[in-house]
């Protein structure tokens, strides 16, 4: 599939992170095993995480992945 036609994900990672006692991006990055720059890109919608990373993020916040990530097919 051409890169521009790939569906993007919307997420509420930033909102969940700031609501969780002001967790920093570095703290979240350390907990899920990525760099802070990846968290920045993810929160900004510039990066689509792998399934494993999405599941690790969901586990940190104690929510289902569907509650954190939503498919945004309107961007196609």
């Amino acid at each position: 599939m051409p890169r521009k036609m790939e569906p993007t994900l919307r997420n509420c990672v930033r909102e969940l992170r700031t609501a969780k006692a002001g967790m920093t991006q570095q703290e979240l990055a350390d907990q899920v095993g990525v760099t802070r720059q990846t968290i920045i890109a993810l929160e900004g919608g510039a990066y689509t995480p792998s399934l494993a990373l999405a599941l690790r993020i969901a586990r940190v916040f104690g929510k289902a992945t569907d509650d954190i990530f939503q498919l945004d097919e309107s961007s196609r």
């Binding site: 990055a29 095993g33 760099t35 720059q37 890109a41 929160e43 919608g45 510039a46």
Partner: protein, 136 residues
């Protein structure tokens, strides 16, 4: 700037510098100017950026994804450069009745292809990191 972005910039700068210095030395050294491609040895410095730093993650899945994509494009461009140059050289040797391609030309071709591979790889990786930073 994270570790792999520094690696990408290093690859780009070193490759462009090697080609630039080699080109500048042609008037004085001729085919000997290919010695300037020894600058590509500085690519080995990239390991300094990805050294382990305590428990902090240095290279993650996003970095690997970007590097894989950049490598595919860099290698592809390098191979096409090689094929195209060899086709041109063969045609030139045929139609100019030279019946031979100089080893100097082949030497330049090999080093330019090597530098092209890493230069394009670095450029693509840098652009991908910049695009994600702007979009974020």
């Amino acid at each position: 700037m994270n570790a792999m972005e520094k690696v990408a910039w290093t690859e780009l700068v070193v490759s462009v510098s090697a080609v630039g210095v080699a080109t500048l030395l042609i008037p004085w050294l001729g085919n000997g100017a290919t010695g300037a491609f020894g600058l590509l040895g500085f690519l080995g410095l990239c390991v300094v950026f990805v050294r382990r730093r305590g428990n902090r993650v240095v290279v993650d899945e996003r970095d690997r994804e970007i590097e894989a994509h950049a490598t595919r494009i860099g290698v592809g461009v390098a191979w096409m450069t090689l094929f195209t140059a060899l086709i041109v050289a063969t045609l030139w040797a045929n139609y100019s009745h030279a019946n031979a391609v100089s080893t100097g030309f082949l030497n330049w071709l090999l080093w330019v292809q090597f530098a092209t591979c890493y230069g394009i790889k670095g450029l693509v990786a840098v652009l991908m990191y910049r695009r994600q930073q702007r979009a974020a």
